[in-house]
Amino acid sequence: MDRFSSLVALLAERAELRASERAYIFLSDRGSEEAALTYGELQGAARALAGQLMQRVTPGDRALLVFPPGLEFMVAFFGCLMAGVIAVPMMMPRRNSARDSSAAILANCEPAIALTTSAFTLRGDLQARFARGGLQWLAVDLAATRTDHVDLPLPDTDAIAFLQYTSGSTSDPKGVAVSHTNLLANSEMIRLSLGNTSRSTYVNWVPLYHDMGLILNALQAFYVGAPCVLMAPNAFMQRPLNWLRAISTYKAEVACSPNFGYDLCVSRYRGEQMQGIDLSNWKVALNGAEPVRADTIQKFIETFAAHGFQSSAVFPAYGMAEATLLISGGQRGAGHMTRTASRAALQAHRVALPADDADAQTLVGCGRALQGERIAIVDPERLRRLPAGEVGEIWVNGPNVARRYFRNEAATINGLHARIDGEDEASWLRTGDLGFLDDAGELFVTGRIKELIIIRGINHYPQDIEQTVQRLHSSLRQNGGAAFSVPDENGEEVLAIVQEIERTERTKIDAEELKGLIREGVTDQHELFARHIELIRPGTLPKTTSGKIQRSLARKLWLDARLDLLSDKGAD
């Protein structure tokens, strides 16, 4: 594709050559078109916003983007790019959520302004929630209301385009500083891997504050010049088959979802609701943002083949915000590949043939390194590169890898500027995920070193959940809890929490009441169901000698039912 210095330059060209073509369409919950933006309208509205921004803030300042589902987000995003203001996409806080879960992010990025829709600027609780000194609110409209001419210099390619926070509400927030160069590099890599053209219409339900929704969907469609049809995440959750209907209606070539979205389509399948839906134009059904499961893919193919879905469209992929988004992917039309390995050996970080059927685990290949990028498998302790077929930490080097986290030097050095022992000075991203490469370079993700909890494609830091729990009641010991994920009956990850009770309180507490309090607090503040909660005796949570919580050991004790439960000996 032609080289542009930034997406701003690309938008200017689109607005000139293809002004009346539609860039974005937003569907109502019933599936009808609620709003649309042509390239010309997008450019006009974004320019008007950029002019307003330049009167209020300085280039390099941060702007929070807090939007309900709709197209205003795209105007705000491009408006920020044009004004040189660093956009910070945020999740819209839930209506009844008790606490400001974004405080640490705000403290880290110190936003000068917050953007939302006209309707939401009136929502008092939103302003109260993000209340901090000097934060002004600005309403973003789809129509360009002002036409004052403002000079907008094109952005410097090494400048930060936006910050993508990788969760982390109370603990050490990590805002990936994505530069214009990163954004263009990954957009081009995605284009090549997915085989996209201006005919590659997208239908997307993944939220735009999520990197998959923004980079892989909304910006990739824009990059290749194809329309992007957006629907509200909740509309998908309520009626997932409407996603498939929109794919059929718009003859979309590309539609992406975390694994759970494909499961949801299968479990909500109703023959009568599929009438008239033809999925034969769907060429890339990308599955990423959480572990890709072979049985999900199989069930999806079996259920929807009768409606034209082709197994060759299955497109497992791997990525994360630190690499702008995509790290590995297959080839359009190639389908997916699987490999059977020993479950027990994988748990010991080795690849071996299964001993028997019970030991067999089917792994799904997540494609290969993208154009211009390298993937290495590295021993996470000795920092030595491992050969093909051995499990180690997945490291990535390429123009799509961000150079830094915003104002977090320690995380930047450890996570983004790692060096492989005995090799040249190349700087690598440490993903914190475990996997191996086969002889052909296909990447298989097998687990995780980092203690991140990924549920329904959303990342949660255990520290945040633990802190929420410990703030709920005085009997819940500070620094005495561990949150981690465990597989449920279907192999999906669910949240488990173990928490120590203060010594002085352990005969007085009502365990069921406390568990209810924890469930409620975690639901309200993290949108997560704490499936398993165990209260344990003080001093029994595994910690290192320096007092650091050993979550993976706690998880192992939980799985082996070897925790020192309060209820076992609570009456002493």
Binding site: N234, M237, Q238, R268, R519, F529, R531
Partner: protein, 93 residues
């Protein structure tokens, strides 16, 4: 959808039982663990789970619901009372 579900009016108690069964299945706990006076968030129902339960109730009751209905009527007792009213008032199928 069977004729019985659309043709017969469900009582508030039947709707309450239906809510309990759906919640128990979604949360994967036994039905006797679902107290009808306990708030949904105390039970641990997150917003994705609200949607699952809502879909099942829509199916069985022939009603269109929104997730706000669950926030406005946050216990089984309150929700069942509200749904029973709407269910009785819905146009005949």
């Amino acid at each position: 959808m069977s004729a019985r579900k659309l043709g017969t009016l469900m009582t508030e108690q039947e709707i309450s039982d239906l809510c309990v069964a759906s919640l128990a299945q979604t949360l994967r706990v036994s039905k006797d663990r679902i107290d009808t006076k306990t708030k949904f968030n105390r039970l641990g129902l997150d917003s994705a789970m609200v949607v699952y339960v809502m879909m099942e109730l829509e199916d069985k009751l022939g009603l269109e619901l929104t997730t706000d209905d669950f926030y406005d009527h946050p216990t089984v007792d309150e929700l069942a009372r509200y749904l029973a009213k709407r269910h009785a008032a819905r146009p005949a199928a």
